[in-house]
Symmetry: C2
């Protein structure tokens, strides 16, 4: 995962509306109208949020007749879980020494990005 992609994913998740959209999409695909329905903002604003999520790779949109169906793409979330796992030893008491050694080894080889 390149550094700017990490930034894009974090930035996308920094907005509560976008997190709510993701939560909705976790339950299944939806159209833009369906996604916009719960929010007190304009459809255009939701469309902008979807652009941000798409640029971050968190969703994909496919044309389906006159609708554009949105689908959650979990890959960046998986990468995020890996990223935060770099820091697990800082809070996880059950993080044993061998496990810690392996993770730090991994940090120093694959994980050149912060």
């Amino acid at each position: 995962m390149a550094a700017n992609q990490v930034s894009d994913v974090f930035a996308a998740l920094a907005d509560p509306t976008r997190r709510a959209i993701l939560a909705r999409l976790a339950a299944g695909d939806a159209t833009v109208n369906e996604l916009a329905e719960p929010f007190p903002i304009s459809l255009q604003a939701v469309s902008k949020h979807l652009n941000v999520l798409e640029r971050a790779g968190l969703i994909t949109r496919v044309r389906e007749a006159q609708w554009r169906r949105c689908r959650l793409n979990p890959a960046p979330l998986r990468d995020l879980a890996q990223w935060v796992d770099q820091y697990r030893r800082l809070w996880d008491d059950r993080y044993d020494t061998l496990d810690g050694y392996l993770r730090e080894l991994k940090e120093n080889t694959d994980d050149r990005d912060q």
Copy 2:
């Protein structure tokens, strides 16, 4: 974890400089000057980044003589790991049915925030 705190943590992590500062602090406490040294930006800019990290709860600063020592606080990262774990079933094949049931049960009780 309140919704705005989640947002603050994600927003704080959306900047590569701030992620690099966290990575440095994971190796041990440091002063502002020590943290600023690797970056091509002014000390004041680093100080601003530290404010953002502090507001997000990711670091704490304590006065020590004429220095101000920065320390990483892993709690928000732990919360983040929990947040992203809500979505684990979407990418993890080894996510079995019982585990899934327990997690969704948990989502519907503690995790009212998106």
